[in-house]
């Protein structure tokens, strides 16, 4: 029996420590709706301050668990406190996830690929290359409130700062890699029609844990300006 403040992030979101990123995203949406200040299911149970505090913790939990780097660090922390069972070999990420590529080569059972296979070189790499080791502070990074305009390069920088690969974003948002590239490079001509693009940006923003409305607003302003200038 634990107080809300003592629940770990998995317990708070009511997911198992083995949940996939998608499960966590769904659980977050659900729990956030339950602890919405206007939710009548909480009526008379929690004060406004308490609801706000719970809400903040839910946001923290989501931002920690949705990013693979942060989650791994958090899991390690939980294991130290003996709050999480030791898991055999990262079953918490679905097989299709790019994180497989991060496994040491020895762990993979695949035979080495033959040298000459030109069509593979041309095709998109099946897995994103392992991210470069960045100097990271021991503390779990949370999304810093991004001030400034959401331009394509700014979004890219923000994504890299969070240590999320394009492929992860693509998996989560179901927006194609190519479009993500175009969005980040601001190649407006090659992007789909305005309403679709807006939807993409909203999804992208959610994947990064940013304010979706603000990001889409900023980006679409730039889009409109660029399109007006060219025609």
């Amino acid at each position: 029996m634990k107080k809300i403040e003592d629940l770990n992030f998995y317990e708070l979101l009511e997911v198992s420590p083995a949940a996939s990123a998608q499960d966590i995203h769904k659980a977050y949406e659900r729990v956030r709706r339950i602890y919405d200040p206007n939710s009548i299911a909480l009526y008379s149970l929690f004060t406004a301050d308490e609801t706000a505090a719970i809400h903040r913790r839910i946001e923290d939990a989501y931002r920690t668990l949705i990013y693979e780097d942060n989650r791994r660090k958090y899991d390690a922390k939980l294991r130290e406190r003996d709050e999480m069972p030791e898991m055999p070999d990262i079953p918490d990420i679905p097989a299709s996830s790019p994180s497989k590529a991060y496994e040491p080569a020895s762990a993979r059972t695949l035979p080495p690929l033959p040298e000459a296979k030109p069509f593979i070189d041309e095709a998109e790499p099946q897995y994103a290359p392992p991210p470069p080791e960045k100097p990271q502070s021991e503390e779990i990074a949370t999304v810093s409130q991004f001030i400034g305009e959401f331009t394509g390069p700014a979004i890219k920088a923000l994504r890299e700062q969070l240590g999320i690969s394009q492929r992860t974003v693509a998996n989560q948002t179901k927006v194609g890699l190519r479009y993500l590239d175009y969005i980040e490079a601001e190649e407006f001509r090659k992007l789909p029609a305005r309403p679709y693009l807006r939807g993409f940006i909203m999804l992208y923003a959610k994947a990064l844990g940013c304010d979706a409305e603000r990001m889409a607003g900023d980006y679409m302003k730039r889009y409109d300006a660029a399109m007006a200038a060219k025609t």
Partner: protein, 314 residues
């Protein structure tokens, strides 16, 4: 399998309560009873809504001659004599209609006598229809039963009362397992939301009790785990209303630390109102209506000891 179930058959007492009045407790009790009776279970309905009984009306029975108050006032010695057979096979009723004005407040001896006699009765299921409010009588019936079922409407008023009901039942149960008078006083004080000791949630209370007597605190923690009320959301109109059950489940887990089981919901439909108007039970007048189907599903969940899961929604 059926033989095995019969061999293991044990009488179960279910209590249906919910704090607020007019949320469909009697209607749900009556119709759960009818559905159970159709499954060839021997069912006894007891209208424990002393002072406001109308379970007989939802079953379409006129004002009965013998009622629970006859038993409570010892005009009838044996509880068998106040049982009325209904027109539905396997279903009988102890009505509380036309009771004495003071029947709403039976004293302790009357209450224990009633509970003792209920235990001796030969029935598969005894359903207690509780009244509104959180008086000790209602709470005791709720705690005495094997399964306590809470009815709520997707409205702030009903939800507020449901939480109040849970809290009151919870603290009353605490008080029953505690012998130490000092701890009893602490529990009493905790009932007051604005108490001076700063006890706001059950967690605070248990911590406080633990600081007084570690063992008693641990017993209370066990009690928390054993207390598993069940939830039915009535008059559901939208998908969001169904969601409220899950939300309450989560909120209860986080606030009280108790496991609320979400049994099911009953959809809103005018046919319920029509069946009450015509004084004929819903499950008989409109057996294939959506509300009746919903109640059927609740009965199945109860029998299988299952509850709704989120995946069923999507």
């Amino acid at each position: 399998m059926i033989e095995l179930q019969d061999a293991l058959r044990k009488k179960e007492i279910w209590a249906i309560g919910g704090g607020k009045g007019g949320i469909g407790k009697s209607l749900i009790t009556g119709n759960i009873g009818i559905h159970l009776a159709r499954l060839k279970k021997n069912v006894l309905l007891v209208d424990a809504d002393l002072g406001g009984a109308n379970l007989h009306t939802t079953l379409g029975i006129g004002v009965p001659e013998t009622t629970l108050s006859d038993f409570l006032n010892r005009r009838v010695e044996n509880i068998q004599d106040v049982i009325i057979k209904t027109s539905i096979p396997n279903l009988s009723l102890i009505s509380g209609a036309q009771d004495f004005l003071d029947a709403a407040n039976p004293n302790f001896a009357q209450k224990t006598r009633l509970l003792r006699h209920l235990e001796t009765l030969d029935a598969d299921y005894i359903l207690l229809d509780l009244g509104a409010g959180t008086s000790f009588n209602i709470l005791d019936f709720f705690l005495f039963s094997d399964h306590g079922i809470l009815v709520v409407l997707p409205e702030p008023t009903a939800i507020e009362n449901a939480y109040r009901f849970i809290k009151s039942a919870f603290y009353r149960r605490f008080k029953k397992v505690v012998a130490n008078q000092n701890i009893k006083d602490v529990i009493d004080a905790a009932m007051d939301q604005k108490n001076a000791m700063g006890i706001r949630t059950p967690f605070d209370l248990i911590e406080r009790v633990k600081s007084m007597e570690q063992e008693v605190g641990e017993i209370l923690e066990l009690e928390v785990l054993k207390f598993r009320p069940k939830l039915v959301v009535n008059q559901v109109r939208t998908k969001n209303d169904i969601q409220i059950g899950f939300s309450m489940k989560s909120a209860c887990q986080k606030y009280f630390g108790i496991n609320l089981e979400y049994l099911g919901y009953v959809e809103y439909d005018d046919c319920v109102w029509q069946s009450i108007r015509s004084k004929r039970p819903l499950a008989i007048e409109y057996p294939y209506s959506r509300p009746s189907r919903c109640i059927e599903r609740i009965v199945h969940n109860l029998l299988r000891k299952e509850q709704l899961t989120l995946s069923m929604l999507y």
